[in-house]
Symmetry: C2
Subunit: 166 residues, 2 copies
């Protein structure tokens, strides 16, 4: 009885984190539908990142979930312009339309992979932590990768929101 209870609590917690991820993805999707390409080319606030930069940044950060779970990235070419390089210093960027497509590709792949991961696998170490460190810090597991990326999406969603007229 105790065992059943604890196993079911584990499933519930995984569901909480994954549901939160899917909800964030939907929120970004909704915002992207509401914003025109022209709006996405504007700065979210004077002197700050443009919408297109934050979109590329969020695609890259979602894509970076994949290698931490043991899969290949789909859009490694976006890392340099959208993470390593600040906005407006990054030369020729992919067009907004291309980024919208990359977002669909990446979010779909992430959704597929996270749906297929078993409850116990979520508690295994992610690929960027050593066995020795993981033994001391078991919270550095695969589920924590999704939890931390989630926080990153929210942070920039609050900013992207400013592209919508009041």
């Amino acid at each position: 009885m105790i065992e059943n209870t604890t196993i079911s609590q584990q499933d519930i917690l995984i569901k909480m984190v994954l549901d939160a991820w899917h909800a964030k993805v939907s929120q970004l999707d909704k915002l992207l539908t509401a914003l025109s390409d022209e709006q996405l080319l504007q700065e979210v606030a004077p002197g700050r990142n443009r919408g297109v930069y934050l979109l590329g940044h969020l695609i890259t950060l979602a894509d970076s979930i994949l290698p931490l779970l043991g899969y290949e990235k789909l859009a490694p070419h976006l890392w340099e312009p959208f993470v390593h390089t600040p906005d407006k210093k990054n030369g020729d960027l992919p067009g907004v339309n291309e980024l919208r497509h990359e977002w669909v590709k990446v979010k779909t792949a992430v959704a597929e992979k996270i749906t297929a991961i078993s409850p116990n696998e979520w508690f295994q170490k992610h690929t960027a932590v050593s066995e020795a460190d993981f033994a001391k810090e078991p919270h550095r597991n695969k589920l924590n990768v999704v939890l931390s990326r989630l926080s990153h999406v929210d942070y920039h969603l609050g900013q992207l929101q400013f592209l919508k007229p009041r």
Copy 2:
């Protein structure tokens, strides 16, 4: 052996969510230290909420964790001006200094309460869900309250950040 493993996974997940909460609180603390009262009185972007409004809003949302866990709110008077009423329509607001004090009071109370909750209690229903609904939706538990508030803090942290000069 299986039982031990699952119990420990449960503890790990609770730690992940609570650590994330504490990390967000520290991030907001750091930002509040960096910003002067004058800066907090500015709009985060033209025509958007002022820093002081977002601060009051975040205090209120953190405070609203308490009743969902079964405790009393510390700052119920902030709900009307900082959640129900939009910024700049809310008349006489508490001063920035008073809000800084309220934040310390609320974050300290939340930290104390969440530290005292036992692993199994995190999986009990929060106070705003009925027994019948909880039976169908067991993810509406106390830990999910913290998880969802976490997301809210991130959303506005990304905006408050704009008050810092580049």
